[in-house]
């Protein structure tokens, strides 16, 4: 239990650091599990956690679109009408407006998405999207290192 708590803290610290580097208000993580289910794994704060949990529940949102299409999904304002926003999701996470979801890959395989968010709507500049992709690679390195160095055997 202590070890799992340490893993959780490490992932949360990583998310906080990545959000800081990008200058975003927060970051959150959705990953495919060993049964190929997309799971809301982590958020750097309550809003991030809610953003992912709601997507898991309603089956739509930038993280899910990013994973489905395998591309970056930059949403300037969640409240915008489809296809630019996700008004259904926005209603449940009023503290989040702009979202950037980048796909995470391990050896070419999609394993999930890293999501950055801001509390005000704004346009995601290409340089920031590119930085988000690089930060996604760092997230994958942390996950890989954890996966190969942690006692995580057993089935869910």
């Amino acid at each position: 239990m202590t070890q799992v708590l340490e893993l959780s803290r490490l992932v949360e610290r990583t998310l906080n650091a990545l959000a800081d580097v990008l200058g975003a208000d927060g970051a959150a993580l959705m990953l495919l599990d060993d049964q190929n289910r997309l799971r809301a794994v982590a958020g750097s704060d309550d809003d991030g956690r809610r953003l992912e949990l709601l997507q898991e529940q309603i089956g739509t949102g930038p993280a899910i679109e990013s994973l489905t299409r395998g591309v970056d999904v930059a949403v300037n304002d969640l409240y915008a009408a489809r296809p630019f926003g996700f008004p259904g999701l926005a209603a449940g996470v009023s503290g989040v407006r702009a979202v950037l979801s980048v796909p995470l890959r391990v050896e070419e395989q999609l394993i999930g998405t890293l999501n950055f968010y801001d509390r005000i709507s704004h346009e995601w500049q290409p340089a920031k999207v590119q930085t988000g992709e690089g930060l996604g690679r760092l997230m994958v390195m942390v996950l890989q290192t954890l996966a190969h160095n942690s006692p995580i055997s057993g089935k869910s």
Binding site: V4, L7, D34, T145, G154
Partner: protein, 235 residues
């Protein structure tokens, strides 16, 4: 309180474990510094480590110009990275070639190493090394540069901590020490290839690293092989 679902995290890590091969911490650190270098868009980046009570040495550097930072600081026992490590805080220099804090550094530095910034990399709160970036022209580092560098250093700390999850700190130190030791072999191989094929250090190292990756070998092993062949030629 964390904002994490521990069960989902463990189940997802299990998937990552099965879909990727094991990668050593040193290789991950190399990749991480490469990402930092790319994202910053500066001239180069490096990661220095200090064995307990010993000098700060480069574990990873993106190019040979930046490498001169280590040599100069090792020789003089001072410089921006040494200060960042010793004082456990960010240290920046607009132009290290004319910085009055380290007047003798310029003589030993590559002329294209100008603006330097370094932040400590910590484990358990204590500094174990520094993450450094440099520019080939004078540059006024601002607060956002330093904060971003701290953020990257934080991610590197999490990488190191993740690597320690199943190992003692001493085992991790052994791996890092191994990398530092074998770097000497790599540098000798680079020197040999430069002489034999009339290459720059960067070209020699890039070629060596590519060949190692293509043949799924460690750079150190390939370097040792190259040196073995070189020794055979001179006999």
């Amino acid at each position: 309180m964390t904002h994490i679902d521990p069960d989902a995290l463990v189940a997802s890590l299990r998937r990552v474990q099965t879909s990727s091969s094991t990668t050593g911490i040193v290789q991950q650190l190399e990749r991480a510094v490469g990402v930092v270098d790319t994202l910053f868009g500066y001239s180069g980046a490096g990661l220095m480590f200090a064995e307990e009570g010993k000098d700060l040495r480069y574990l990873v550097t993106t190019d040979d110009r930046g490498r001169s930072l280590e040599g100069a600081q090792l020789h003089l026992g001072q410089g921006p990275c040494v200060s960042a490590y010793a004082e456990n805080t960010a240290v920046t220099s607009t132009d290290v070639q004319v910085d009055p804090r380290w007047p003798k550094l310029a003589d030993r530095l590559h002329p294209e190493v100008r603006a330097v910034a370094g932040v400590p990399v910590r484990l358990g709160g204590d500094p174990v090394g520094t993450l450094n970036v440099y520019q080939s022209k004078p540059y006024e580092w601002d607060e956002s540069d330093v904060q971003a560098l701290y953020g990257y250093a934080d991610v590197i700390e999490q990488l190191l901590t993740a690597a320690m999850a199943a190992e003692e700190k001493s085992a991790l130190a052994e791996q890092l020490q191994y990398a530092l030791d074998y770097r000497v072999v790599i540098e000798r191989a680079i020197g040999y290839l430069m002489g034999k094929h009339d290459l720059t250090a960067t070209q020699a190292f890039t070629g060596l690293r590519k060949q190692a990756r293509d043949s799924r070998r460690r750079v150190a092993d390939l370097a040792a092989e190259v040196l073995g062949e070189g020794a055979g030629e001179t006999r």
